[in-house]
Symmetry: C2
Subunit: 502 residues, 2 copies
Amino acid sequence: MKSARLILPALLSLTAVTANAESLTPSHKENRCQKEMRERGYGMFIHFGMNTFIDKEWSEGVEPATTYNPTELDCDQWVRTARDAGFKYVLLVTKHHDGFCLWDSAVTDYDVASSGNTTDVVKAVSDACRKYGLEFGVYYSLWDRHEPTYQEEDFSGYLKFMDAQLTELLTNYGDVCEIWFDGGWDKKPEAWNIPHIYELVKSLQPNCAMGVNNSAYLPATDLSANIYGSADPDHMTGEYDVQFGYFPMDFRLKDPYIANWRDNKIYNVDGEDYYLPFEHTICLSKQWNWFQKDHPMETRDVDELEELFYRTTANNNTLVVNVPPDERGLMRQNEINTLLELRDRIGLNPKDKKFRHKSLNTPISMGQPSRATSVYSDEYGPEKAFDGGLYRRWASTEPACQLEVDLPAGKTFDRISIFEYMDEVVAPDGFSRRRTNRITDYTIDAYNNGEWETIYMSTEPMGDCKVINFAAPQRAERLRLNVRNATAPPSIYEFSVYSSEK
Amino acid sequence: MKSARLILPALLSLTAVTANAESLTPSHKENRCQKEMRERGYGMFIHFGMNTFIDKEWSEGVEPATTYNPTELDCDQWVRTARDAGFKYVLLVTKHHDGFCLWDSAVTDYDVASSGNTTDVVKAVSDACRKYGLEFGVYYSLWDRHEPTYQEEDFSGYLKFMDAQLTELLTNYGDVCEIWFDGGWDKKPEAWNIPHIYELVKSLQPNCAMGVNNSAYLPATDLSANIYGSADPDHMTGEYDVQFGYFPMDFRLKDPYIANWRDNKIYNVDGEDYYLPFEHTICLSKQWNWFQKDHPMETRDVDELEELFYRTTANNNTLVVNVPPDERGLMRQNEINTLLELRDRIGLNPKDKKFRHKSLNTPISMGQPSRATSVYSDEYGPEKAFDGGLYRRWASTEPACQLEVDLPAGKTFDRISIFEYMDEVVAPDGFSRRRTNRITDYTIDAYNNGEWETIYMSTEPMGDCKVINFAAPQRAERLRLNVRNATAPPSIYEFSVYSSEK
């Protein structure tokens, strides 16, 4: 509901208040806030709101509040599921781009209090988090397609509105471990006054880690030119060069990119180095929808989820997995089943108080000499499949082709993962997409003492992410992917060869 | 090599000798020979010989002996692989239908002694079995397409030839745990004088278990009419009615059929009940070739192998898996890798001295009331998918269709396996075949309290055998397979719902 006046915090005293907060300072190491973030490590992202009830990913803020109307809302089920699945925190979408608020906000009527179900979802979820021993974080969209002050020439009205909403979220729901800002791209970065927001957040929740989506990226440069590694904006489905954006923040965000294995989190800003971990966001759904649709959707394969888990929690980065409840207000059983299978596959224990980092050794294939029988162009050279990231890729001009890599001498290996480039079809919602792979018949061959020997073979479609585990350690001077048939010339984002040897 | 005279055993004293043997007598329980067979449980079947060197499954006995010419023969590798993979015995094809012998037989020149590699493979394998602590068994083809006496009007010459060869095999290679006769179908059953062969075997190897392929089957009758259950000749790819054949034997054989879950091994012969376990034979290769081809071939999926393992070792039956060496005389690495993965999946320990029976509880879906939205004909009713066997099947007339089963009240479940009917294309060798499934988009739905809920979903081809494991126990009053898309009207051999509850 909307009250007669805006209740604003005592902003003038911010500088004094934040003296107690763990704010960002130049460093090559994590600070306390970042350490706590690492110790949470694995979170459940929950998109729920207006878009759950219409067949759109991003509604325009014009749907009546009553369209939101979950009939069997059970936030306890959401958080219980998160706990059972081994997550250590929940990141709740409190307001998406459409401006609809999942709590009773004093500064707008476009909220649950005016909807078909007046439950304060922010309260219900934060209460359940305390009940189940999980931490609680909030997502908040800077962009607001409903709030009238957003459209005014003088943007200060909206900034005050935001201050009021953030103060509500960070005052009325207990400890908030993290705040995740989205939608900043609708304005120039400086419009948001990020330093002020950062100070406000820290004044209200000194231990809250703050990040802004699309922020804190260096452009994709030659990794070898930067001793700090830098985070190549690796991504499974697209390619962008993103300039450094918002500052300060405690961690980097660029949904849905995946950091390079070599990400070391050090960024130079105005001559000073800052340590900035990366929080990864992935969808449980195979079709990459963030809000649930009116029918059950297929989840990603557990192979792909497991491999992404290892990649995204490597190097002390963190991962949130989006698990959206449906229009009943319940998480769907097929998605819960996948989460529990993933938990068991990785070996997560819900009883662990802190996230126990589980990862694979750095791939022994990374940066090794490579070659291919066919190369689409220099930009798609074979080395791209071994560069540690999912951003660049090798591409062939022929359906039947071979990709080969030299392995370091004396090392065994016992796991291979392959991320293949996928053809995509956009779903009717204009956002979700269906991926189909190209490789349908292939072998993995090992070269030893002058001879190639097949160590794995399949005549089934490679799938979204192919993981091959070997029960006994394998040896090879060289290893190759031999594609015998494909529906189109194959392309490989990354071919990773892992060794569990210490 | 062929010696001037046949060296025949002292057949006249057979009856006296077999007094020490554990021969078959009427019983409802296993005898010592059958107990030892059960305690072996899981064996490696090795097809190697003339057909390894030509692109045929069944050569005609006309290839010169020198065509057999392995260049890197290493029988130690075969048996070491068997040991590593958790097998407890090896079953070696000593002579296939073409008559070529893998040992130096005194009664024929069509053997290794006249070939490109004179190694006595029977000796090398039996020696390696002793070295690695495995038991040793032999396969022998009754049918012989090379030996001239086989063609004579008076068949007694060939029977003597066989006696001589069996005496060699059962005298010169230490303990033989099992003898597996094949090819009997080329003559009428009585032509072979099975009682005589049985007596000969027991006289030379009192503890050797004997079986004859295509034997000891009752016709496919209504199971409920027989309190002993009977072994329905379940099979993944064909349908036959086979009459009871050879007798006596210690165990039943019908390659490559899979017994019904309810198989209880009791058969009535001439008014007496006999206990007859079943030894299953499956190929590691997906294309169902028994001899290796000149190129690596894909193995079955580990899901299918695991599910078949549980089905075939249920009810104290046994399983042999065929792993053929190639023309080098080596087992191929991709096949070894699959075997080791299967070992780990099942949890077999190569250090166990005896086979440790591992199985699943009887499917809770078996024999439960069922229905379908489409039925091809009475013969293909929905109940066929829940009859405990892979012989009969439900078939639809529509690509999109539903198959539904009522589950027993109060039971949870945590595993589902689905064997789908596959379309087959015969390979150029005229024997091997490639299977392709039909179902490409489906859900598994659970019915509780008046509502259906999806608990699993896939838009990938179902594959040869789909296994779905649930990390948490599921409940359902009814369960259904909801096929949303298929390349042809689906058909299901068996839909099994398992509970790990005791």
